[in-house]
């Protein structure tokens, strides 16, 4: 489907009205809105001044007051739902967590548990209607009800683990009591979301229907017309401690692979809880409260929550309407193909130009694969592919609101492409280059309108790497930068605004790390040891593997460009790197780089190496981040941390490179850099910016 088809009739009719019984949501400033009709009580959650419900202290206290009334004057049935079109509830209000002491937190948890226990104990049927997402504490409220009606499109999940926590309002014992405990543990350990059909299969949802039939479904439940399996049948198999121990061992080893206990304690704590108390809900409940409060205090959880808010900030920067309907991408190479496919998948009408037909064809099959990886239905995939038009003749140029140039990294070629655009581009259209190694100031002269020319630096693969650097040169119009940031938001990527500096922010910071790894290899340190040290620090993969994945030719190009443009001492470019590139062993894409990729991704696992191995790689990265901050390449410490986490996977549990530096102590780092400078040379000279950090 090319573009949007919504017509005037649907626009006029608007969203389907939510069935809220006698309650008119939005009235008043309480969180819960109560109404009684035909002896059924409706409790509609609709917090003031927000588009998404979050379970806060107020929500819990107001619910307690409502439950009081229900206990005194029991109705025929209770219906709980959200009055927000966006969904049920996005989880707990974690912003409130930071201001609370551990005791306050425990108090609040106890209050919450008490009210949910009383809700669960009500004698009348209690029915939770879920539309949109019911996450974390939202799902815990739903689990305390007898019945769950899922409106088609509803989803259920416990994402706490992503914040270094596990469920804390009874989820750890209510979910395994309701559904197959191994499925329950999987949901909580992975933080994954169960969509409507999956939720029905798991037994999370008792009734699946459309919004227009919600009232009829409630009446059917109240009239006892719905059959369902007795919940908790599968839980019995795990009443035996030995069965749980066996299962817990398996869960531990799986979890350890993705989330080592030292770095990510929460999932391991959850497995311990279940193994110990899986057959005793009361014991599990008090252990859950204690464990949750303890996790909340860990550095990991604090840092992951910080990262969550950093991500929200970047998202907020791109939230407004971008005014970009049609995008033309130039160049169907690895990056251009990914950018085009991703933008089409996210709803943009995209034309993709290339002088060769073959890469255009390959892009279509790549796009189909990305759709599959993103779990799109066959119709959604068809629509996404319809929006992605291979455009060998460049018809899309004249209609595009945004042109993204992703041609090979040679200035001559890019300039030639730009000059061919000058009489074709639509008035007001933006031209953005995906260059990673060239300077915008050198290219802008060839752009049809330098003020409407900027950088839009994506990371490979676009479908997995969330960050995009929105790069301005000193003549780029503000409005252009704003719209590019919003474009990133519209295609579900995270924009960070940077200036035209060699390597911008991310490559400037990452390159010394990769180059130092090659220097270490030249010194005779095994690449497996180098990579293992980085992984032990918390990086998703080691620098040697990463170089192979990025492409050694691109690494060399960026390294050369940085070395020549920066008046800073850099690690010498390794001869081995040049030899590999010359031999065509350019890494993953060639099947061979420093590693042999023919049998898939390498998993280096070798301890040892010099004692300053990790610092030699990590500290230059921090040093370069400080340089970028000093040079105003990036606006803030927070943006720097977010960019490095979402572009390179920099250990999220450490909260980002600058946060890590502050945690370790600026003085300690300066001392270590001095020390490394003495041992290894001037590339470790501390940046003058450290004193302002």
């Amino acid at each position: 489907m090319f573009g949007s088809n919504t017509g005037p009739v649907l626009r006029n009719l608007g969203e389907t009205r939510l069935e809220c019984g006698p309650v008119r949501p939005g009235a008043g400033d309480t969180a819960w809105h109560q109404g009684r009709d035909d002896d059924i009580v409706w409790l509609v959650l609709d917090q003031a001044d927000t588009s998404i419900n979050k379970v806060s202290r107020d929500v819990i206290q107001a619910l307690a007051a409502e439950v009081d009334k229900l206990e005194r004057d029991p109705p025929r049935a209770l219906v709980i739902r959200s009055g927000k079109p966006a969904g049920f509830a996005a989880g707990a209000d974690i912003k409130g967590f930071n201001d609370m002491s551990r005791d306050q937190m425990s108090d609040l948890l106890r209050q919450g548990h008490e009210v949910l226990d009383r809700l669960a104990a009500l004698e009348c049927p209690t029915i939770c209607v879920v539309h949109g997402a019911a996450l974390g504490a939202g799902l815990e409220i739903a689990l305390a009800c007898d019945w769950r009606i899922a409106v088609q499109g509803a989803s259920f999940g416990f994402p706490e683990v992503k914040l270094g926590l596990h469920p804390g309002l009874g989820g750890t014992f209510r979910l395994p009591a309701l559904i197959d405990p191994t499925e329950a543990m999987t949901l909580m350990l992975t933080g994954k979301t169960a969509h409507t059909d999956k939720a029905e299969k798991l037994g999370l949802a008792d009734v699946i229907t459309q919004e227009r039939h919600v009232r009829a479904a409630i009446e059917a439940i109240v009239a006892d017309k719905i059959d369902r399996d007795q919940p908790g049948l599968k839980a019995r198999a795990f009443n035996l401690a030995s069965a749980r121990t066996l299962a817990a061992q398996r869960m531990r080893s799986e979890t350890q692979k993705k989330a080592p206990k030292d770095h990510y304690p929460a999932p391991h704590a959850l497995i311990d809880l279940w193994e110990k108390h899986g057959d005793d809900p009361a014991a599990m409940q008090s252990a859950e409260i204690e464990s949750f409060a303890a996790l909340l205090d860990t550095e990991t959880s604090k840092n992951l929550r910080r990262v969550f808010f950093l991500q929200q900030d970047l998202k907020n920067d791109g939230r407004e309407e971008d005014g970009i309907r049609q995008v033309h991408v130039i160049g169907a190479g690895a990056m251009g193909a990914e950018i085009a496919a991703w933008a089409a998948l996210k709803g943009k009408s995209v034309t993709l130009g290339d002088v060769e037909l073959e890469p255009l064809g390959k892009t279509v099959s790549l796009a189909r694969k990305i759709c599959k990886d993103q779990h799109l239905s066959s119709i959604e995939t068809r629509n996404a592919l319809d929006r992605l038009m291979p455009d060998p003749k460049g018809y899309g140029i004249a209609q595009a609101d945004l042109i993204v140039e992703a041609a090979p990294e040679t200035a001559d070629l890019k300039e030639k492409i730009y000059s061919a655009l000058s009489d074709k581009m639509k008035e007001g259209a933006i031209l953005a280059s995906n260059t990673s190694s060239l300077r915008l100031k050198d290219l802008r002269g060839a752009a049809p309108d330098a003020g409407r020319f900027a950088g839009l630096h994506f990371f490979n693969p676009v479908s997995k790497m969330k960050l995009v650097e929105v790069v301005r040169h000193d003549g780029t119009e503000d409005e252009v930068v704003d719209r590019l940031a919003r474009f990133c938001g519209a295609i579900d990527r995270l924009p960070v605004r940077v200036t035209d500096y060699p390597g911008f922010l991310v490559n400037r910071a990452l390159t010394p790390y990769l180059m130092e790894a090659m220097v270490l290899m030249d010194e005779g340190v095994e690449k497996e040891k180098i990579d293992a040290a980085a992984i032990a620090f918390g990086m998703p993969m080691g620098p040697v593997t990463l170089s192979d994945q990025v492409g050694l030719d691109i690494c060399l190009h960026v390294a050369e460009s940085l070395t020549s443009h920066l008046d800073k001492s850099m690690p010498a470019i390794s001869d081995r790197l040049r030899e590999k590139v010359e031999a065509g062993d350019t890494g993953k894409k060639a099947g061979r780089g420093f590693y042999d990729w023919s049998k898939g991704t390498p998993h280096p696992d070798a301890a040892g190496g010099p004692d300053d191995l990790t610092d030699r790689m990590i500290l230059p990265m921090l040093n370069a981040c400080v340089e970028c901050l000093r040079q105003n390449v990036v606006g803030s410490v927070d943006e720097t941390d977010a960019a490095m986490i979402f572009a390179t996977g920099f250990a999220p549990f450490r909260g980002g490179p600058m946060h890590y530096a502050r945690t370790r102590g600026v003085d300690a780092i300066l001392q270590r850099l001095d020390d490394l400078q003495d041992r290894h040379g001037d590339r470790f000279v501390p940046d003058p910016g450290w004193q302002d950090l």
Partner: protein, 427 residues
């Protein structure tokens, strides 16, 4: 004075030969493949179109009213009216003619008119006896009834019939389309060599047009989901020669027939669109028309000689505008069969035929081969039935422009005994 009507642009997919299994594209996929680039290269917002008309004969169950499905997939908006037309082999021209009449009447300003067909997707059809058996099984109330019904099961129920084969058989005369061509070959004295020679030229002409990039703005590469690029019409045989063409046995009436797979149109998938616009639309959007649509005509005749449809449809246009043989610079006569095209030419040269049937004063004359199907036709390109009528109009417009000529007729025979024709003039 009637309002002028313009054909402003058009594009089609490559025509892809059916190779035994369903091809990579459904009818709507094909319409989207060529519709996207066509609409993207226009200076106007695609939602400025008033209407979508699409010819399609073999509609898939998943794509009822393919015109509407294509309109939505092309992003023309929920409020875009779209309907599908079917007059068998004339469907793709019927859509243009309908658009032409709507615009001429002043009710519409800009219409997307196309044709699409995926003959490789033609369904396997159950025998009537099998359908009845399935019905009985479904209605059987208890085990006994079911057991009774089960005894009626026959092995031939599982031998489905090619829907395509049935579609190419005339239901009135029970003649296959190829047999109607045999009748014409016999009545107008077309021998095997003449038919083969015509077929060979068709291949050579298309090969030349491809080589010289004459089809560049007309044929848009199609990209299938597995990444395969279909750049050109793939049924062409540039090295086709008479020896090769002499080899295949008569396909429809062996052993003595003249019509072979080699001198018949190919079974193919493909789609084609044109944009039909009023003068007001041309001015409003600053469009450069390819041609002006001047007149149209449909005719019907005995189904067993359906191949003469072009003669019956074109001649009234020529007569209405007082045009002689030399006034028509270019002809596109859809090449259902070489013998059928040659029979049309022979009929126009036949004094008695022209007097008695066409009510002319005498023979219309001999159409110069240099003015007829100058870049090949359905024998080399293929004949996706719902599409061909659209393609010949589009190609005629492009060919007139390329040669700087003034006037041309695109015409086709239609299974079931009809013919359609459209007169274009340089814009």
């Amino acid at each position: 004075m009637t309002r002028p009507v313009y054909l402003v642009d058009g594009a089609r997919t490559p025509f892809l030969k059916a190779r035994g299994t369903p091809g990579p594209f459904t009818p709507v996929d094909l319409a989207v493949e060529c519709g996207r680039p066509l609409l993207t290269r226009q200076p106007f917002d695609r939602r400025a179109l008033d209407l979508v008309i699409l010819g399609c004969v073999n509609v898939l169950q998943d794509e009822m009213n393919p015109a509407r499905v294509a309109a939505l997939r092309l992003g023309l908006g929920a409020d875009m009216v779209a309907f599908t037309m079917q007059i068998n082999c004339g469907s793709g021209m019927q859509s243009i003619d309908t658009a032409y009449r709507y615009v001429r009447d002043g009710s519409h300003d800009m219409i997307l008119a196309g044709g699409t067909e995926a003959l490789s997707h033609a369904p396997l059809v159950l025998r009537q006896s099998a359908v009845e058996w399935f019905g009985e099984m479904a209605q059987a109330k208890d085990i006994m009834d079911k057991a009774k019904a089960l005894t009626g099961l026959r092995p031939e129920f599982f031998k489905p019939i090619l829907g395509l084969e049935r579609g190419l058989t005339d239901p009135i005369t029970t003649l296959n389309m190829g047999q109607t061509a045999e009748i014409l070959a016999h009545r107008f004295g077309i021998d095997r060599t003449a038919a083969d020679t015509y077929a060979m030229q068709s291949h050579h002409r298309l090969a030349q047009a491809q080589k010289k990039n004459w089809l560049d703005d007309e044929v848009m590469p199609a990209f299938s989901k597995d990444g395969t690029v279909h750049e050109h019409d793939d049924g062409v045989r540039p090295d086709s020669d008479l020896d090769g063409l002499a080899k295949p046995k008569p396909a429809f009436e062996p052993p003595y027939g003249k019509v072979t797979a080699g001198n018949s149109s190919q079974i193919t998938d493909g789609a084609s669109w044109v944009i039909v616009a009023s003068e007001a639309a041309v001015e409003k959007y600053g469009l450069t028309p390819l041609a002006r649509i001047v007149d149209s005509q449909w005719a019907a005749l005995d189904p067993s000689v359906m191949g003469l449809g072009p003669v019956l449809a074109s001649t009234p246009i020529v007569a209405r505008h007082d045009l002689g043989l030399d006034d028509i610079d270019l002809w596109e006569i859809n090449e259902a069969f070489a013998a059928q095209v040659l029979a049309c030419l022979a009929a126009w040269e036949d004094d008695a035929f022209c007097r008695d049937v066409l009510e002319l004063d005498g023979a219309f004359g001999r159409i110069d081969r240099d003015r007829l199907n100058i870049d090949g036709g359905a024998i080399s390109l293929g004949h996706p039935v719902g599409t061909s009528g659209n393609r010949i109009v589009l190609h005629l417009a492009n060919a007139l422009k390329r040669r700087g000529k003034v006037r041309g007729i695109a015409t086709e025979c239609i299974g079931g005994g009809q013919g359609g024709a459209l007169l274009l003039e340089a814009a």
